[in-house]
Symmetry: C2
């Protein structure tokens, strides 16, 4: 199986040795297909800015793809044809093989000491596209591991939002699944709040969900009071029965700002060496808790008991935070992008060679 794939990857490399010019075009067209598939209908101009390629080239390539019936044009923009989707699926595999993504995933999982690493394809500067690709991969993995009795916890944030958005549910067997938001409201955008995401996800799965109608940040006294409320109790019980958790990873400095911490509190957290934030905790680069937000949600103890832990995070600026989080639990599954992956791989190779 493994040998099979690496073999094909080698064949591609040989093919490109015979014709190196084709390599970039191959990747270019793959990216076009991939992006059109993600945000169709889309026009030349938007594609050109997303890929940072001149519009004329985009035109040339899309014309070729249209000739080959992989793309179609509508009044609203270009869309991918059914055949295009089939080809894209296959090319996805080729792209993985060519870039050696499967091997990188294994090396990284081993190096980071976690269960699995999933590297989402697409190596663009456009963060939205990259995040969307991460979301697609994470959602596919999520659908693979959940069953009809799963209790799924999700946090807020754009990464998790992307997972939910890209989720493609085919069967209707998830009626008994429960979705639990593990954070309250995240301050700013409503579309990224865990409550909103839980609702959307539950709709896609046609299943039940709980809302966690508490603010993101509370005083200790309030928490104790709230914990006695019957409805909140129920939610807390549910949180403790979560078997699958999908969560985002943030840089401590940015997350602290977003949560509206006081300046001195922020400084205190920074002084303690915080680099990462996830599900209400701040961690230093060793993965140790340096600060905890008083709120209703999943706690670290429960986290470590949870069967499936899916961390979703991309963007080169989050590398430090991501590495910190990978130290939390060996059951972790990390879904990230090519850029982050190659950055960590670089580090791996540096250490290996001295």
């Amino acid at each position: 199986m493994n040998e099979d794939k690496s073999k094909t990857g080698d064949f591609l490399k040989v093919l490109f040795k015979l014709a190196p010019e084709f390599q970039e075009i191959f990747i270019e067209r793959y990216e076009i297909l991939k992006i059109v598939n993600m945000i169709e209908p889309v026009g030349r101009r938007i594609l050109s800015v997303k890929m940072d390629i001149s519009e004329r080239i985009i035109r040339k390539e899309t014309d070729k793809l249209k000739e080959n019936k992989l793309l179609d044009t509508t009044l609203k923009g270009m869309i991918i044809t059914d055949e295009g989707k089939k080809v894209l699926e296959e090319i996805d595999k080729l792209y993985h093989m060519f870039k050696g993504i499967d091997e990188s995933e294994k090396i990284l999982a081993d190096y980071l000491g976690i269960k699995k690493v999933i590297i989402a394809p697409l190596n663009l500067d456009d963060d939205k596209m990259v995040l969307s690709s991460i979301g697609e991969c994470a959602s596919k993995y999520l659908m693979k591991i959940i069953n009809d009795k799963s209790i799924i916890g999700i946090t807020g944030g754009s990464s998790v939002q992307s997972v939910i958005e890209r989720l493609n549910v085919k069967s209707k067997k998830y009626r008994d699944v429960k979705i639990i938001p593990t954070r309250g409201s995240l301050g700013d955008k409503a579309e990224y709040q865990s409550n909103t995401l839980a609702e959307i996800l539950a709709n896609k799965l046609s299943c039940n969900y709980k809302l966690l109608s508490t603010p993101d940040k509370l005083s200790e006294g309030t928490i104790k009071e709230l914990q006695n409320e019957p409805e909140i109790r129920e939610t807390i019980n549910l949180i403790n029965s979560i078997d699958t958790l999908v969560f985002g990873i943030g840089r401590s400095d940015i997350m602290a700002k977003r949560r509206g911490l006081y300046v001195d509190e922020m400084k205190m957290i920074q002084d303690k060496g915080a680099v990462a934030e996830a599900f209400g905790y701040y961690f230093n680069s060793l993965g140790e808790v340096v600060h905890e937000i008083n709120t209703i949600g999943i706690d670290l103890h429960k986290f470590k008991q949870t069967k499936n832990l899916i961390a979703v995070a991309g963007g080169i600026e989050k590398v430090e935070a991501i590495r910190a989080i990978t130290k939390l639990d060996s059951k972790l599954v990390l879904v990230t992008d090519e850029n982050v992956a190659s950055e960590i791989l670089k580090d791996f190779r540096r250490r290996k060679n001295g």
Copy 2:
């Protein structure tokens, strides 16, 4: 194993769906590499006539191949680099997969009811190149099946000559092998006579060989007399101990002319429905003997008792003759070219679909 290969073939097809323009260039460069590897050193002009492509295009492609260090230029012409050879080996596999040659071989072997079919790559109009490719494949197969005690019989003809010429012997373990020419002199060119070929082959293998110093065509009386000669007796004994036979296939009409038959004898043979000639026999399209040349050599009885039967023949004009010969024995291994193979495959599909 099989699934593995067909998978890779499919991947290639998908790749070419994404970029059909590359398909012909891929094949073009493959053919250039292949031909340079066969007849290096070689210049642009000869390549251009062999491939029936304008010299300017050859130049463009070879320049690219030189850039990629797959070809090198010398004063005598272009040669293939070591890396080029490595790449060519891999591309050979790709070409096989892309054209589905392995599957075709199996279908044909099954359809023709013989042990194995080997289809030599290269689909050119240039007969010499095609024959050379056939020779390469046949010689590789030959080296695979013989051991240090093999007794190899060979006939004359350009096909067998090509096998001998392309043979690449690496080890020195063939000292005890014996090479036996199974025909006398074939009339015209000395370089194609089985005696000459036996000598060259024996030199390559650093082994013993026998010469068969009798004319190709004899009267019955002479044969009986010769058979009493001690030296000839020995040769005949050796012929009867052959375990591997490499032989060419001819069209009966052409072979008859070459052997210098009388006009009425020729007409007689034609009237009996002869379409093929091999090792001194003429066969009709059902594979039945219609005429036999009086000579010293392998007889049909011994032929059918021989373990390894390797028929080497290419060229679309020989299809009928080849098909006749395949009916002789189910142990037969046929080495032929893409053109012949696709012609027989066409017939197979016609019968299959009604």
